[in-house]
């Protein structure tokens, strides 16, 4: 691919491809599209905005002294970050999928799992509703096929 002469052509093709409703003239992916992926909360700009304080709380758990303080009194510690009550409850209950929905990003949530002495794999299996050993077995057998998981309409009636 040549730098200068191909730039315009490919850019135009890419824009055309990303256009969703024929009216949208830009590169913007609409939130509705992200919402069409089943079993997934895409961490886009809107969800990041909602989750900002939640994620700052999770980020604080990178420090050993903060992990200690949190585990000693979870309720008081979580009060310090300006999260919503719903976010705080989801933290206290380790309601992982709810935390994703409320704007938590998985890598930050992992710090909460690590604080509990759990692995990333444990957290992922909890999100799927599978026992960790069943999740590991699924991965060893080649992972979850995308078939039936590409869109909400494809998923309908399967859960």
């Amino acid at each position: 691919m040549r730098n200068s002469d191909s730039r315009g052509k490919i850019w135009a093709a890419l824009r055309a491809r990303l256009r969703i409703d024929g009216k949208d003239d830009g590169m913007t992916q609409k939130i509705e599209d992200y919402e069409d992926i089943p079993g997934t909360w895409v961490f886009d700009a809107q969800r990041a905005r909602i989750g900002y304080r939640l994620n700052e709380f999770l980020y604080s758990l990178m420090k050993a002294e903060n992990r200690k303080e949190f585990l000693a009194d979870e309720r008081s510690y979580t009060m310090k970050f300006g999260m919503t009550d719903e976010q705080r409850e989801a933290v206290l209950n380790r309601h992982w999928n709810k935390l994703l929905e409320l704007g938590g990003v998985s890598y930050a949530l992992a710090k909460l799992a690590f604080t509990d002495g759990k692995s990333y794999q444990f957290m992922a299996s909890q999100m799927t509703g599978m026992a960790e050993k069943d999740y590991v077995a699924m991965m060893l057998a080649g992972g979850r096929s995308p078939d039936g998981w590409r869109s909400k309409s494809e998923r309908k009636g399967k859960d």
Binding site: R7, W11, Q29, V42, M139
Partner: protein, 280 residues
């Protein structure tokens, strides 16, 4: 003249680094993976690059959510290893190349890429896992490393096409540096994987194989893969593969595939690696 002689694409799954650090590499779960990386490691030992440009992403370790650079180039003397929540990995500190990195900043910004200059940064598994996979466990890393941190955590990540163009501009920047250096560029992350929600564990071998093929045969198709296609077909975290397109863009028009390896799983991830040699 400094030259980018080759590119390496590789996954950067943290569990791989942890397996090495904890002496688990000889366990049956991990043996096939490390065996598959042996030829890549050998290639690297023979190639002996002076500088590695490491395209990777930070995982909420160096950057929280106060500031999220889309493209952050590490210009420091050295980069310490981040404590990601379970203690820092016991790997050598990463030595940078501030002179070349600063030159790259000048060249890239004038070439219309609005880079973020990062003068202090800790590096996480996104950078250190590939180092371990390709260089093993030396007392000190055998080359200097210029980290290029790309935001692929908050959507939208930069498009594949933008990434490819950045790669082209990186080649230009490196080639205008007047010092004989062998540079190898890494594109890391991927391949298909999703590590969140009820859909976690998704793997799409067909997608991954086509992606590996496309790196030498059809980059025009790869740069057009939209964020939604990555999401739908290869999982929410497969968007990391756009970083491989920065690597590919930096290799010029024609490449020779020197090695590839693909394996499922490492934790929740389909692992792939490829070595592409640049043909002048």
């Amino acid at each position: 003249m400094a030259r980018i002689i080759a590119g390496v694409g590789t996954s950067h799954t943290p569990a791989i680094g942890a397996a090495v650090d904890n002496g688990k590499a000889s366990e049956p779960y991990w043996v096939p993976l490390f065996k598959g990386y042996e030829p890549a490691k050998k290639w690297m030992a023979e190639t002996k690059p002076d500088v590695v440009i490491m395209v990777y992403n930070d995982h909420v370790n160096a950057f929280d959510f106060k500031i999220i650079p889309t493209f952050g180039l590490g210009c420091a003397d050295e980069f310490k290893i981040a404590d990601e929540g379970w203690g820092a990995r016991p790997v050598p500190v990463v030595k940078g190349y501030p002179e070349l990195a600063s030159h790259m900043i000048q060249s890239l910004v004038l070439d219309e890429f609005d880079m973020t200059i990062v003068n202090e940064m800790q590096v996480d598994h996104g950078l250190t896992t590939p180092m371990t996979l390709l260089f093993g466990q030396p007392k000190a890393w055998p080359c200097r490393v210029i980290p290029l941190a790309v935001n692929v955590i908050q959507y939208p990540a930069p498009t594949g096409h933008r990434c490819y163009m950045l790669g082209e501009a990186i080649r230009k920047a490196v080639e205008s540096w007047d010092e004989d250096l062998k540079v190898v560029i890494f594109g890391t992350g991927g391949m298909s994987h999703q590590i969140q929600g009820p859909r976690a564990g998704l793997v799409n071998t067909e997608f991954d194989t086509a992606f590996l093929d496309g790196l030498s045969k059809d980059t025009e198709r790869l740069v057009r893969i939209s964020p939604m296609e990555y999401l739908r077909d290869a999982g929410a975290e497969a968007i990391e593969l756009v970083m491989w397109l920065i690597m590919r863009g930096a290799l010029g028009d024609s490449v020779k595939e020197a090695y590839r390896f693909y394996h499922v799983p490492a934790s929740s991830t389909a692992v792939g690696t490829i070595i592409l040699e640049s043909r002048p």
